[in-house]
Symmetry: D2
Subunit: 264 residues, 4 copies
């Protein structure tokens, strides 16, 4: 494993990409057509995803007006380029808060803090803020990414129940997962479509993940599986995690990761 | 009110737009870069949203691989045009199930049923299915749309707590709302970004909505407000609902809709 | 042939989609990044193309700030929907001029006229104009579309000369084609990528096309082939033209169209 | 001027982004809807433009199936990321040829050569080629960008003549410009929309540009103005050129650039 010699508990850098004064814009001068807003939000997120992807980061839609990104490889100043692109291609602008901290939860809180410190999300003259906060002198290090999905989602849900029941079941499951991982492991977890969720987390071992999966199953009745990866960027760690999840699918195991026997 | 002479409890037509064999594609020949998938899903949904918007419908991202649309104004055959466009512009194809039924829940179930009847979502040779099921002879009629948001979300959440806490709070709230509206009113409810959710529902009155808001508040601690509209299309009904929600914001009331005093 | 009973020389409806006050916007407050402008223009045109495509029309990028569309099937009022979408999804707005006339050239001139009559393209307060002019009482009728390409472009140009030489050769050829078709047949011709050009033209027969191809060859040294189709919409006529062009490719003939022996 | 100490005649790196086997795809199994192809080509170019823009390059649509980019700041290996993104988000793939040479014309020829050497653009098994050729040991150096537009295009063309006449006039002008600059200065020139053309050229002085403008005027009757910039990247040079062109617009001069009196 190439990660063996890198510290697994390096700091994490997360970013919040927040639409400036978006709520009021959606109803000015009168409410805008909902499908136009849906398409705008989606394409804007695609632009954000491409921006992070170009830098080996990860991006998440969040609430669409508050998107998230994993930015371990990204200099905070680079976000001026994203802000410029959005301003030139969209009818809205974005502010970006960046946080670098020992844990994902602390990094995201710091990213949110810098935006809140700059003014309200609905202040008309707070536009295109870009700021960065470092917590406890953390620097971006090796990331751990855990990629979860539902065991046999097609057979259990997609091909069997109504689409809204399937969606609520998946959403409820991912919400329980996100809450547990945040509380117990200071991880930030996002639903990424289908039956997939991705967590940026401190290094966790197999026993901790077993406990998380068991908690989610008891709360929601849904069985998850998870692949874990480490790497210098979200893409590198996430790619290893995806391969590990493929191993789950192939072998029927529920947890796969870059651990030797001694690690378990 | 222009809707006065139309029956308010007309049938509902909903569509499920399902990516064909998508899960396997995302990992073939090896896992694809996550940000590329995020961007693909988002832009594909934007195409779907524009398609529905062009026909005065509404579209929702759902789980991204299973998108939803309100199609009261749309002939089921018209979806061949969407399927053609997706096949020509994207690396994936879509199947579309359409259901017309007396209630949104029944319509969505029918839409899902026709896809399930055609084969598994992960069958490699089930591609570009298009089918329509009518339940109890229903025909598309006047729609009721309820547009919800969180009272003072900026002050209570966005400007105050960490982005992931804000998101989980909103998601948990919208999940509770969706469950309640499905169970008690056979409505289909979708989160549409920020702090907004839109429900396609049978005609509901003020007391029923009061009960729903109270239920959500007691379950999640979050206070919602709602505007209701009727109309021949999702856009028409939704536009009236958005205006009603604006009235909530302006007046401080929690429920606004197209009711006279006698209706309350 | 399904077109046999329809008049082949019906009127033509063309539209100009003009960005409002675009030049000044591109340099305000200072010049915007060129690649952002390129991407903006391209995606905006894609939105326009989808809009026309949804209505069985054709769309052409033109100069990007002045796009064109074939709108025989489109009620001029429908463009308010396009204007709404652009305003909601892009940082710019568009005006639309529509002309219905006996010939394509006259229709495009009328479409341009109504915009010019409404004010300058760079007037800051001329925004989202939509107007329609009918010439000589024309109504949209059966369209003739001619689809041209370069004989063996891959062998003659793409695989053989430098990309800029290939492009200039193709552009010069298409310019000569466009000029000739405009002057002699009142047709509107647009380059559509690769080695393809599409002309909306009055009904032309094989001898006229032979003369056009010969003119282009003598002017530019490039040999073109062409497929012709008729139909009630640009898509219908163009689809027949594409099939005819396929017949050229398959048989080695240079002109194919919906003519019986007697027509030739 | 910050460019003073950098050599102005450094090498140029250009890239050709060529759609693989695109022509056949557009007609398989039967001709695809033209507006879908237009939208696909446009969005794919937007993706390419964003990719180059992210690296301070420039991108040009070319013939759409053969796009161009200025890549002085881009490691040829970086294009694997673009190829990956296109393959993941579009139904087509791209090959990329990169050339580094003393002049733009030589660089583009080299970029084309490496693709031609790899096989035909319509070979079904030539996919996602990426190769780089260096001519005469050139390395990317300081670039010169010249940004041209038509003097008073709005008054002379857009507001006065038919859109197709305006377009042909502009296209004819830009073609004459491109030919002249290629022949006399080994420059690569692309139309970029509206009335704008951008040339990547070796360092040219005011007298040479006067001669070019005079040639174009005598050939086409159209008067151009031009701003020139130098810089380490296309964006840096182009940004200076845009500012210089603004100076033309402000002062009425026809040529502005980073020259002292002694240079003239």
């Amino acid at each position: 494993m190439t990660h063996v010699n890198t510290p697994r508990d390096g700091g994490v850098r997360l970013a919040v990409v927040q639409l400036d004064d978006y709520g009021p814009w959606t109803t000015t001068p009168e409410p805008r057509r909902e499908t136009d807003l849906q398409a705008l939000q989606a394409r804007l997120f695609a632009t954000v995803a491409d921006f992070f992807g170009d830098r080996d980061g990860y991006a998440f839609a969040g609430r669409y007006d508050n998107m998230l990104g994993v930015a371990n490889h990204i200099d905070p100043e680079a976000f001026t380029r994203l802000q410029e692109r959005v301003a030139n291609q969209y009818p809205v602008t974005v502010s970006v808060g960046v946080g670098t901290a020992p844990t994902p939860v602390a990094a995201l809180e710091a990213a949110g803090d810098v935006l809140q410190a700059a003014g309200s999300a609905q202040e008309t003259d707070r536009r295109e803020v870009l700021d960065h906060r470092v917590v406890d002198g953390a620097t971006p290090g090796t990331l751990t990414v855990a990629h979860f999905d539902v065991v046999d989602v097609t057979g259990e849900l997609t091909d069997r129940v109504s689409p809204d029941v399937a969606e609520r079941t998946v959403r409820r499951t991912m919400l329980a997962l996100s809450e547990r991982l945040a509380e117990e492991h200071a991880a930030v977890t996002q639903f990424v479509g289908g039956d997939n969720a991705i967590a940026v987390c401190p290094d966790v071992g197999r026993p901790a993940l077993e406990s998380v999966l068991e908690h989610v199953r008891s709360e929601t009745g849904v069985e998850l599986q998870v692949g874990v990866g480490h790497g210098p960027s979200a893409h590198a760690a996430g790619f290893e995690a995806k391969h590990a999840l493929e191993a789950c699918r192939a072998t029927g195991s529920r947890i796969e990761g870059p651990w030797g026997v001694a690690d378990d």
